[in-house]
């Protein structure tokens, strides 16, 4: 199988004021098409930093990060933006635009990708149906529950048929019953639609639902678990 994501000795150092913080200290990772990888680790272990790098939201300080064989550090601003359009991001705090309805939020990522009005409307409706929110698509985020908002976020991430989904604690901000439903949805997407998923979580139980998991600690991967 082809490696969609490949990290070689990946390092990221932040400046926290004047103090350098080594968030990643040499991460080696390979994710192949159709994979469902959980990145486990306590807070501050560098798992979110890794996800941000893979999502092209940030650039590595050192090492190599290949997305579909292309070295991210060689890309300019516009090319990075182009890469982000091919990646679906799901955040812990949903990050929906409050003034837009569910459907408009899903449409937004397609309008950024230059898709015409009629087509994106149809696709948005289909995607919201996939995540089970067709009835609520004309509601704004404030009128939706946490679980519903996360479904909208997943539908938005699925727009533009991304190469892979990146999920940062997708169930971290919703109750456990809804979290199970969301996990079910994520698993279905992976198993039935073949969507490649990289999910960051600190929850051991969620990690067991993925095909495999890696444990991070202090900016390095300490072990790999195959479920």
């Amino acid at each position: 199988m082809v490696a969609i994501v490949e990290a070689v000795n990946l390092r990221k150092t932040y400046m926290l004021g004047k103090v350098p913080v080594e968030a990643l200290r040499g991460v080696n990772l390979k994710v192949e098409s159709g994979d469902f990888l959980a990145v486990l680790g306590p807070s501050g272990s560098g798992k979110s930093t890794l996800l941000n790098l893979i999502g092209a939201l940030d650039k590595p300080t050192e090492g190599k990060l290949l997305i579909e064989g292309v070295d991210v550090s060689t890309l300019n601003d516009n090319q990075l933006a182009g890469l982000r359009r091919r990646v679906g991001f799901v955040f812990q705090f949903f990050n929906l635009i409050p003034r837009f309805t569910a459907r408009e939020n899903v449409e937004l990522s397609m309008s950024i990708a230059d898709i015409g009005r009629a087509e994106r409307r149809k696709q948005a409706e289909d995607l919201l149906e996939t995540v089970g929110l067709k009835e609520r698509m004309n509601h704004k985020p404030a009128e939706l529950s946490g679980g519903e908002q996360q479904r909208v976020a997943i539908a938005r991430a699925l727009a533009n048929t991304p190469r892979f989904l990146l999920m940062d604690e997708p169930t971290g901000n919703i109750d456990s019953k809804t979290a199970n439903e969301i996990m079910g949805l994520i698993k279905r997407l992976n198993e039935e639609k073949g969507v490649t998923i990289i999910m960051v979580t600190h929850d051991q139980r969620l990690a067991t639902q993925a095909k495999r998991a890696v444990q991070m600690f202090d900016g390095v991967i300490t072990r790999e678990i195959v479920n």
């Binding site: 939201l57 601003d77 933006a81 990050n95 937004l108 950024i112 015409g116």
Partner: protein, 425 residues
């Protein structure tokens, strides 16, 4: 992102904060309205004055004066004591391209009738020649302007006959009026007076100008010479055979030379040029003042955009995470201010136009600013002129200022790093 989508995204952000956007727009509205109102009034005023001037000062006429008594301040010709006389017209008549010339003697005096008196300008002219030069304005409304008048013939302007603009007349055709003038050069000053017979009341001329005026009375030039006790004239009006620039220039020069360069020769084109220059300066000045208010509005826009940028940092992070290019983020922010600028300019042009018309109405109706002086000239009527240049200029300026002042906040928004923007609380 398609430009239509960028526009609708920008618009949705404006719609979210209606009051704030409204107040920001109001700044632009006020600035643009001030510019449009001031410029269209000035241009209307210029058009009125130019038309008025052309009515009384045809392009094929020249005005010769010593430069002291014409009422218009002219470059050159200092007070050298040089005098023009009524019979100097003979010298001028011999110059090439001159078809006729006419001397004018005028003094400020009074007309008395029925126990009342009014201040007037008493103008001594050759009626036939004057009527020929001012064929459209030296026209009788009632009575007749005799070609060869009697010594006591008087032609009065409309506002002398009907000073209050109603049916109550001060004097009318066939009335015998007393004409009075104070000779201040006599020792002691002496009141000169004679009885005149009103043979005609002129049509209303309106406004002001160099030719016939509503607040003047006209007496034969010979009578003026004896009444004012002088044959020194205030100006000589020269009618040319044509109004070619070359003719005007060469004849003006010839007349100046004939009087040893002691006289000033004015052509209407020269006066119009001066007028046009003066109005350009006025427009620049007034437009500049109004532009300052627009700059203040621009700073308001910048302020609001920076606040908006802070509030929407996270939103910008989301947009960037979804793959929006920095350039598109810049366009979204500039689009917001362009919409504000466009709305402000459109409303501003409309309200400026209304304002200009209201001011024009006040000018015309009440004559608050000009007119209705002692002599009783009417208010001047201004038709505000909204030229395509002003219209387009205001639109471009309104949108331009808004966009320019939004450049910095928009640039800052576009430079935000997605990770940091998403983490922003």
């Amino acid at each position: 992102m398609k430009s239509r989508d960028v526009f609708s995204y920008s618009f949705s952000a404006i719609k979210l904060r209606k009051l704030r956007a409204g107040l920001t727009t109001l700044g632009v509205v006020i600035g643009i309205a001030a510019i449009v109102a001031l410029l269209s009034i000035t241009q209307g005023l210029q058009a009125t004055i130019t038309a008025q001037l052309q009515k009384g000062f045809a392009t094929n006429t020249l005005i010769v004066s010593t430069g002291r008594s014409s009422g218009v301040s002219i470059i050159g010709a200092g007070d050298s004591g040089f005098k023009l006389f009524v019979n100097d017209t003979q010298t001028i008549n011999e110059i090439e391209n001159v078809s006729m010339s006419l001397a004018i003697i005028q003094r400020v005096g009074y007309v008395q009738f029925g126990g009342k008196n009014r201040t007037v300008t008493i103008v001594g002219v050759d009626f036939a020649k004057y009527a020929s030069i001012y064929s459209s304005t030296f026209v009788a409304e009632s009575g007749d302007i005799p070609q060869s008048p009697e010594n006591d013939t008087v032609v009065v302007g409309k506002r002398i006959s009907d000073p209050w603009k109603n049916a109550t007349l001060f004097c009318n055709v066939n009335d015998d009026v007393e004409i009075l003038w104070t000779n201040a050069t006599a020792r002691p000053p002496k009141n000169e007076t004679y009885a005149g017979h009103v043979s005609a009341v002129l049509q209303e001329v309106g406004g002001f100008g160099i030719g016939p005026s509503d607040s003047s009375i006209y007496i034969p030039i010979s009578k003026a010479e004896s009444f004012f006790g002088t044959d020194e004239c205030d100006m000589i009006i020269v009618k040319l055979e044509n109004d070619d620039t070359a003719t005007i220039d060469s004849t003006s020069k010839a007349i100046r030379n004939a009087f040893d360069k002691q006289v000033t020769v004015m052509s209407s084109t020269a006066v119009l040029n001066i007028l046009s220059n003066v109005f350009s300066v006025i427009q620049l000045f007034l437009g500049g003042i109004a532009a300052i208010s627009l700059l203040v509005a621009g700073i308001g826009i910048m302020n609001i955009m920076i606040v908006s940028l802070m509030e929407r940092t996270r939103e910008i992070g989301i947009l960037k995470a979804l793959g929006m290019k920095s350039r598109t983020v810049l366009t979204v922010f500039l689009g917001e201010s362009a919409i504000i600028g466009l709305m402000g300019a459109a409303i501003g042009i409309g309200s400026g136009w209304v304002l200009a018309n209201v001011v024009a109405l006040v000018f015309h109706g009440g004559g608050v600013f000009f007119g209705n002086q002692a002599a009783g000239t009417g208010g001047i009527s201004i038709t505000p002129a909204l030229t395509p240049t002003v219209l387009l200029g205001a639109l471009v300026f309104g949108v331009g200022v808004s966009v320019i002042f939004a450049l910095y906040p928009a640039w800052r928004a576009s430079k935000l790093k997605p990770v940091e923007a998403l983490r922003y609380e």
